[in-house]
Amino acid sequence: MLAPSILGFTVFLIAPIVVVVALSFYDWNLLSDPEFIGLENYRELAGDERALQSIGNTFYYVLLNIPAQTVLALALALAVNSKVKARNAFRVIYVLPWMAMPVALGVIWRWVFDPAYGALNRFLEVFGVDGASWLTDSAWAMPVIASVNVWQYTGYTMLFFLAGLQAIPAQLYEAADVDGASAPYRFFKITLPLLRPSMLFVLITSVIGSFQVFDTIHVMTAGGPAGSTATLNYQIYLESFTQRNAGYASMLAVILFAIIALITLAQVSFFRKRTVYDFS
């Protein structure tokens, strides 16, 4: 009964990973026979400005994306979780962008940020402000893409915080109220520590998700201008499927995997070290 799923995993997940690691030691253009070149690909990386830039871009993107998204999602979750009117309507609205096809949203946002015809610059014009060439200016392109992703995934992230908030026993807040605890005290001493499992889950999945961003970048900038929005993931795509440097792309994939593994391990150990509360 396990056979189909084990077969699927082996063929489509495990085997490709083994092959990628092996390919990273080869030179291969996808057509002729792969040629073993040892660590040459890894050595080449040191002098490859585009690839190094893409690693930098990836971290820049993650730094622009994750803190903003996490803080906003937590704030929205807290607000939606309190007894406000129409909380369900708010929740639905925030989650909507996550449901919508990322590519289609990318197309929409490309239009919004279009320098000449875009909704944003035409809107700014009303106030006499000259909008930037958002997507063709290498200083603006990445922040714009990051904000699009924040816009898209904040509501989704909020759902996990909401679930976490609802799992916090109400007695704790009642006890804190009896003791006259202030709102910030309640937040930092009860809410935040008890949200730790949700926080760990959200951070791990959203960081891994950020490292894999493709659709938005492909539609909005295709990695440009001057490679300023090509993340490592996008660079792997370019190297393997447009440059046909399969071996070199595999080496980049190994690097990407190592980065993700290290960051995930760091997050897990950071959160594990702290006290774990169990009220079940």
Binding site: L2, P4, S5, I6, G8, F9, F12, A15, P16, I17, V19, V20, L23, A75, A79, N81, V84, K85, F90, V92, I93, Y94, L96, M99, A100, M101, P102, A104, L105, V107, I108, W109, W111, A119, R122, F123, W151, L159, F160, A163, A167, Y173, E174, D177, G180, P197, F201, Q212, F214, H218, I236, Y237, S240, F241, A246, S250, A253, L256, F257, I260
Partner: protein
């Protein structure tokens, strides 16, 4: 949050009202920021080319029933073909995922066997590995099978690798009492009968969740069809066909994006409950 207030401090009431207003205001602002882009797209999609050129993005269309752009988008994006292809890929992959996933969950939860820990370990590692890192090799696997540029490639990729679904099924399996299996076994049922007659029907809620969440994910997926099925369009790649004559007509593109987005939004509105439950069931504990 609970609101039991023993002794109200002086000024606490005023403070609570301001905090409440600020909270409400930020909720409203966030909602507006979320909706404005979508609303401008809706407005644009209903405007004629001249109207689009002369009005601002936030001006409502003069005729709310001008569906000409939708017709153009649907035709020039070959969206009928796109929807049909997506429907085929979606149906077959979902059916496959469910059978493979429920069988795997049944096997992993109910049987003791050597290498069980290894299988669990592999699944766990696989969840943490971003799919893109192995894309070069996955592409070779598909190519080697002679499936490049076929729907079968997408179907195999979608159903071969869904660990989240297996985890969800295992969680539900654990709630089905073992005594049920044993009773059936005493009555002479074999493993397959138990799976088919007892386990599968009892897993219905989990199956519904997987169908909805994975269904939407497959519908929205762009990378796999873009890479593995270049010559036939799925609905997610159909938007890229506008690059020709309609490449710069935003009112047509707006209509196209709406056609593509609206099905998932409607699905979401009707199926919210399942989605919330399915998403967060594994995440909190």
């Amino acid at each position: 949050m609970t609101t039991i207030h023993s002794v109200p401090r002086p000024g606490a009431r005023i403070q609570r009202v301001t905090v409440g207003t600020a909270k409400y205001l930020s909720l409203v602002i966030a909602a507006v920021v979320t909706l404005v882009p979508l609303v401008t797209v809706l407005f644009a999609s209903l405007k004629t080319p001249t109207e689009y050129g002369s009005t601002s993005a936030l001006t409502p269309p003069s005729n709310w029933f001008n569906f000409a752009n939708f017709v153009t988008a649907f035709d020039s994006g070959k969206m009928l073909e796109g929807f049909a292809n997506t429907a085929i890929v979606l149906t077959v992959s979902l059916a496959g995922t469910i059978f493979i996933g429920t069988m795997a969950a049944y096997g992993l939860d109910r049987f003791e066997f050597r290498g069980k820990r290894l299988v669990f370990g592999l699944f766990l590692i696989a969840t943490l590995i971003p799919g893109v890192t192995s894309q070069v090799a996955t592409f070779q696997v598909i190519n080697g099978m002679g499936l490049y540029d076929t729907k079968a490639a997408l179907i195999l990729l979608f159903m071969g690798t869904d660990i989240i679904a297996i985890y969800l099924f295992i969680q539900f399996m654990q709630a089905i009492p073992n005594s049920l299996d044993e009773a059936a076994m005493i009555d002479g049922a074999n493993r397959w009968t138990i799976y088919w007659r007892i386990v599968l029907p009892l897993l219905k809620p989990a199956i519904a969740t997987v169908v909805i969440i994975k269904g939407i994910a497959i519908y929205n997926e762009f990378y796999a069809p873009f890479l593995y099925l270049p010559s036939e369009g799925l609905i997610s790649t159909s938007l890229f066909r506008f690059k020709g004559p309609f490449g710069a007509q935003w009112e047509v593109i707006s209509a196209g994006t709406l056609i593509v987005i609206v099905p998932t939004l409607i699905a979401f509105l009707f199926l919210q409950r399942w989605i919330y439950k399915g998403l967060t069931s594994g995440a909190v504990k």
